[in-house]
Symmetry: C2
Subunit: 596 residues, 2 copies
């Protein structure tokens, strides 16, 4: 048992400032241990925070937070920051329902100057803060953005640098260069940074100097005295400054250094040996991500037109299978959702079939490209929208709950969501036979349903007619219309004869185009219709059905919309959250029972 001889004295950064410089390396050791100790059992993001332990200590040591502004880009790396800023004692509640967030969050602490989660926002927001200070006549306040080398390659970060470079804003951008995002970083800028680190660009303006930043570095991000010295120096320099820091993701835990992708968020592990704990995953169903990745390989073997694109999530999206098998046909474009979509549009113009795989919440970054570059031109890009619905512990910044609504209003776009893995595979099979329009297929994070009959991989592919729903039960009292995997709750309910006799369960499969034939039947037969979706109640399936009934004069049909009400949802397990938002089996049954 390690004693926290220094860390125990620190609750907030003011305490840190009382520690002599000589004790800071010990503090780094303890902070690292504290993070490992808790993440080993409570799970969470590990590697990123281990990599910036020294930087975190140095920043709070040198600067006067929270008066001075500190914004961590993305926020995976901010565990040390949270622990040093008043949240040590509740750090074990990290990512749990009611506990602290896994990301910096504005209303959680005054030390979290800005809420983050999505990448590459820090330069823009810190510039805004620095300009605000200037306008308010405060020329002493410091404004710092810490951004990784994957995040800085995103277009938005470039926009921030480009603007900052023509201001005299008192801001410091710290590039935390560890050559990793969640997966290894890619792109020309990354290769360039390597040259910078190797000293191959000496005597020349580097890119950041070219953009008018006062550049310094690269320095060793694990050398505490060096970082502190450099931050002290930069504190006194006016205008936009840029510090290039080299760190090792996972620093201090051998396995995390060696397996940086796995130990980005390793799940439970042995805090002494560092080994991941064996869990009973072997007996659990496969993940939707793997169904996607493996099916795509299966289809790509026969269909040479298939190509796949991911913005920096090859592992998370299980595109690794495609990368292994068809490296020439698989593209990791880095954290660049806008580019990913329009690059896919370009591929589609030449007759290829791009499967553009993006997490639901990150697809928001490419909204204009979906409309302007794909849908308007009717290019048959296939959007595979991963992590739709509530995603659990990543919380408000990561839930994929808006996609059905923001996509439904886009002309020319087909929107589908499978109820299970078989239907998912059939959808992927169907689209690669060739469509005239773009399509979005959304599916959740996590494992497929247990109740699949037989071996998923032995079942023959079937084409699904576009815009056709499937009626699963034929009860006579109410209709329940579901989209996506949340429909399994109703399948479950209807295993009881009482319900299968009374409930007509329809798996809509498509939110657009709607199956109008089945909706006319519903409108004629039922007075009470329940719609269920794991997305925003505004604008999704429920609204589509409501609108259909109105337009077709089924005015006496009462639509009971179940979905996520008009608010942001916090973090917790998906089970807890679905209960909280009233989309768990009990809540659904309650409504059904009320209507029966």
């Amino acid at each position: 048992m390690v004693k926290y001889s220094v860390l125990s004295k620190i609750n907030i950064p003011a305490d840190l400032k009382k520690i002599p410089l000589s004790e800071l390396p010990q503090l780094a050791k303890e902070l690292r241990h504290f993070i490992i100790d808790i993440v080993a059992t409570k799970e969470g993001h590990l590697g990123a925070s281990l990599g910036v332990v020294e930087l975190t200590i140095a920043l709070h040591y040198v600067f006067n937070t929270p008066k001075d502004i500190l914004v961590w880009d993305v926020g995976h790396q901010a565990y040390g920051h949270k622990i040093l800023t008043g949240r040590k004692d509740i750090f074990h509640t990290n990512r749990q329902l009611g506990g602290i967030s896994g990301f910096p969050k504005k209303n959680e602490s005054e030390y979290d100057a800005f809420g983050v989660g999505h990448s590459s926002t820090s330069i823009s927001v810190v510039l805004g803060m620095a300009i605000a200070s200037q306008l308010k006549g405060d020329f002493n306040k410091q404004h710092i953005a810490v951004i990784g080398d994957a995040a800085i390659a995103s277009g938005m970060a470039f926009e921030g640098l480009n603007h900052a470079g023509v201001t005299n804003a008192n801001m410091l951008v710290i590039l935390n260069d560890n050559e990793m995002g969640i997966d290894p970083n890619v792109g020309a800028l990354k290769e360039y940074l390597t040259k910078v680190k190797q000293g191959k660009t000496e005597h020349c303006l580097n890119i950041f100097e070219a953009l008018n930043f006062n550049y310094s570095g690269p320095i060793d991000g694990h050398d505490l005295p060096k970082i502190i010295e450099e931050l002290e120096r930069l504190k006194k320099i006016e205008g936009p400054k840029f510090l290039h820091v080299i760190t090792t993701k996972g620093k201090g835990l051998r396995q995390a250094e060696e397996n940086q992708v796995t130990y980005h968020a390793p799940g439970k592990f042995d805090k002494i040996s560092g080994e991941q704990l064996k869990n009973s995953n072997a007996n659990l169903p496969i993940k939707y991500q793997d169904v996607f990745g493996l099916t795509l390989v299966e289809l790509a073997e026969k269909n040479k037109k298939i190509v796949a694109i991911t913005p920096a999530m090859p592992t998370g999206s299980s595109l690794t299978y495609m990368f292994d098998k068809f490296p020439q046909r698989t593209f990791d474009v880095g954290i660049a959702e806008q580019h990913a979509v329009t690059f896919s549009a370009g591929l589609a113009t030449q007759g290829l079939m791009p499967f553009c795989v993006i997490y639901s919440t990150f697809l928001q970054r490419a909204y204009d490209q979906i409309i302007h570059d794909v849908a308007l031109q009717k290019l048959p890009v296939i959007f595979c929208i991963d992590r739709a619905g509530l995603v659990g512990q990543d919380g408000a910044t990561h839930h994929g709950v808006f996609d059905l609504a923001y996509l439904r209003l886009v002309p020319n776009l087909i929107i589908a969501s499978p109820i299970n893995a078989v239907e998912f595979r059939n959808m992927l099979y169907t689209v690669q036979k060739g469509l005239d329009l773009p399509i979005a297929i959304r599916y959740p994070r996590g494992r497929i349903e247990n109740q699949l009959k037989g071996d998923l991989w032995q079942q023959k592919f079937n084409s699904l007619p576009i815009g056709k729903a499937e009626q699963l039960t034929f009860g006579d009292k109410i209709a329940v219309l579901t989209i996506g995997t949340i429909g399994n709750t109703i399948i479950d309910v209807c295993k009881i004869k009482e319900y299968s006799d009374t409930v007509s369960h329809i798996d809509m499969r498509f939110v657009k185009p709607l199956d109008e034939i089945i909706l006319h039947k519903v409108g004629k037969q039922f007075k009470n219709v329940i719609t269920i979706e794991d997305g925003s109640k505004i604008g999704g399936l429920g609204d589509a059905v409501t609108n259909f009934m109105q337009e077709n004069n089924y005015l006496d049909v009462k639509i009971h919309k179940m979905g996520i009400k008009d608010q942001f949802i916090e973090h917790g397990t998906t089970e807890e959250l679905y209960h909280q938002v009233g989309l768990d089996k009990k809540s659904i049954l309650n409504l059904i029972n009320t209507l029966l």
Copy 2:
């Protein structure tokens, strides 16, 4: 009368290739004259196309379009391209209903390899095309993107460069550097390009070389033999290439060279003298843009917290008044909508009141930032959404018809739209008194209504309660609910007593939050309700009202939604387009008469 001695021989690029090199300067002269001749009377974008006359000729001379791919970024500069690619004889129909589009458009010509309109898409799409050729084993096909120095500073362009630099795609990016967007270009990259042009970065990797592009230039973009020589040379080089070309926007028309902002799209002008034709604008009402710009200055004089942000549209948004009066508090961030929104969020965290002014269609570029950086954190950014509704001749890429729908599903966001200039001023006045939440205020392109009583500027400001509608007439047969300036059609209708006796016209003012008190009244009193909005029928006011009636069990109320149906709308005058989509006075009256 100039004779088109060379141009008359050219209908498609194949004809161009038969012309001897020595005659190309004459062709440039004639092409320039042809553009001036037609734009002088038919209106349209002028300066950009005049600037690339030589480049356009050279590209089609050297490359084998349409087999070789040529994508013009944004597309304002593509008039010469259209004229040389089979559209000379119909060029006079430019931007007219049923005529050719003002932008390259995929289904208009095989020479328009990709539809454009929004900025900075060309590098991504051309990379996609070049990679597709590679995968198909075509190593001879050329893929060229022409992009301006304002567009290349947008984040999306950087994402494309960053990816292209690690491929060996056979692509050529041509930077058309004229130091202008619509307004003068801004940002650190622009300053850097100036240094490059001055030769101050010699012997060093410049930014584009740093990103692994084979860079050449800068060369004079009006020196035809030089451009042709350089393109011929580049044609033989493998991998990603970058050619830096210096041009003068408006080249060849003195006034257009001297007044580049005005002559970007000058309206009618004398084709000989170049002078803009005096029209009767003096007697026309002021534009909404000017109401916005002048009111903001008026408010900013008293309220020191007000700051204003535009992504590259200071003139178009009439933020020029703010720039003149409060240059320190007004920010043109370049074509960088993502940054503009998150920069605004940063300003808001420090207690300032950012008025973030973005055209409706371009706000799509910042959708994630609205959700993730503003709404989630309840930062009171004020989005002023310019050019909402149908914008006329700019067409499908520029209509602002999706905003109500894609914004309505964002939690915490207030959405308002004024019916007239007085209400608009009152909304601006209201928000600067301080809100706890972000708000979007959308208003159309163009002039305010004639029917305003009295002098707009003499009317005292009034606070408008958030979420409160205003009932304008109290008829007893049907309710007509409108949002925004399209409500003036109903005001017009209700000037006839027959209608004011029968129609209850409610100016909703807010789409979110809805005025539930007035909607309950409507639900109780009326069986027929018409909703009218100049935006997508999916997801907007109509759906909001339909949903309210359903949830509150006014099941026998029939909602007649008027809005833009689920398709992209082409170009034409706004009058023609509103007629086409059934939102003109006649169509609205027809529905009202049917229901009365």
